[in-house]
Amino acid sequence: MDGSGLPQFIATGITQGAIYALVAVGFNLVYSATGIINFAQGEFVMLGGMFAVTCYSMLHLPLALAVVLPIAAVMLVGAGVHYFTIRPLRRAHLLTLIMVTVGVSVALRGLAKVVWGADAYPLPPFSAGESLSLAGANINPQSLWVMACAAATGAALTLFLRCTLQGRAMVACALNRRAAQLVGIRVERMHMWAFALAGGVGAIAGSVLAPIALPSYDVGLALALKGFCAAVLGGIGSNAGALLGGVLVGLLESLGAGYVSSGYKDAFAFFVLLLVLLLRPSGLLNVPTRREER
């Protein structure tokens, strides 16, 4: 039953890649609004997964509710991170802000360990059913959920940023902070929304991933790093780039683990990160590097 060979590697790679893409989309949200590389993004994913399993197996909520509630909860966490740590430093150097998110991520990971311990918790798949057999690859239903969520989230965010007043205001902050302020946009509030949305996207990734890879307090770091590779590979700031980069990193990992060496599986993504930074720092989609304005 267990598929192997090229089709299976590709299927596994795309599933994993969809998760990285979701993490990368979260990075983009914060980066394009504020210029900050939010190292706590992986912790948002971890919290999403942990809240989901807590709602489901400890509070015995129905699965649908146990998946949706964490999204709101982590959005609150994201907004809180902005309100308590980023906002007081709004005049600080960008480097300081990036270090703050590193500190937040360390603290959140530590807290999660205190609250949930070092165990991993299970969550049932969103829909029951046999795995799908496609061109020699076994794809379980949860993989389809992962891919659908990544595509839907990417599309919804793009629509939000292009077609709603709120979204366009957020883009305006990213393009030129001062000009946005002059036309009456509350830049700080937009930044808070960016963090909240990044939390929401992280929570979606966390709960949709939970049935495949059991969440534990320490999953955030690896996901953040791979998602970061995906974002840089696609061109940081671009959601299409995030999806492309995510899938490429996922494929590379799965094919590399299958054909080259499973021990070096994690190194491939970082190697690509280095290569992209050295050769084409604007990413595959050639997103112009952001002008530092602070």
Binding site: T96, S105, G110, Y264
Partner: protein
Amino acid sequence: MKPERTAWRRPAGLTAFAAGVALVGLLVRNPYYLNVAIFVGIHALVAVGLGLLVGWAGQISLGHAGFYGLGAYASAILTTRFGLNPWLALLLGAAATGLVAFLVGKPTLRLHGHYLAMATLGLGLIIQIVFNQADRWTEGPSGITAIPYLYLAGLPLNTDSRFYFLVWPLVLVALILAGNLTDSRMGRALRALGQDEGAAAAAGVDVARAKLGVFILSAVFASIAGSLYAHYLTYVSPSPFGFTFSIQLVVMVIVGGAASVWGPLAGAALLTVLHQVLANAAHQWAFLDGLEVVAYGVILVLFLIFRPQGLVAGRRAPRALRLTRPA
């Protein structure tokens, strides 16, 4: 900027510091305290180098644990496999680490923004994966044992107090080097660069080259510290050289104060001692277990918000380099 007015401070400070170091080394006999002091010294060597990068080039490295590890493994492999003289191994390790830093820094430091942070992050992770996986050379996760002691004038540095008197004079040398660097032509170039990159470039400072020089220097400091670590413990394994330690090093620099030569030393001392205290406390009271990590994160965030210049605010550093901008 009037260096001559404060020039006397540093020799006086350094002399007092050297006397303090010697006193501690001669009076403290408790091996546990000496052990902690040696680790403070080793960490301080890395932190002083990293402080130059953060404080003066305005760049950050999230992979310094990797450079530290390269030094440690270079010493371990060259001495146990090839029977090289430990001092020669230390120098070769430092040269190799400098070369790696050059290869990564050269292209990334040309760019504006924080690409070095991203590149070093990836590099540090790859280095640790290689330590774990290349077991033909590194013995994998179990690590390399039986690394020989360093010898100084025919004397094996196999006790805590002997090693103490190797590490701390080296810290002193590093401090003097760092201080002289900030007073040198390159230091002035870096200072100018920190205030206004465009103006510095217009005045003839090769911005990318100055940053690259500091980055390589900081990697070499880390490598030497790593070699000392390997010869002190006579054992290396991959786990201390990961992302967590890279972050701890950055915390040391920021908490101590990146704009001052003394800052990273203070940060290394505080964080290393705090680590011991928290570990002991967690050992006694089980409920504290795990809160140590939370404490790191909270300390870092609180410092960045309320005292971004760190414990030791640099007198000579331009405002822009105190990791904050004037309001």
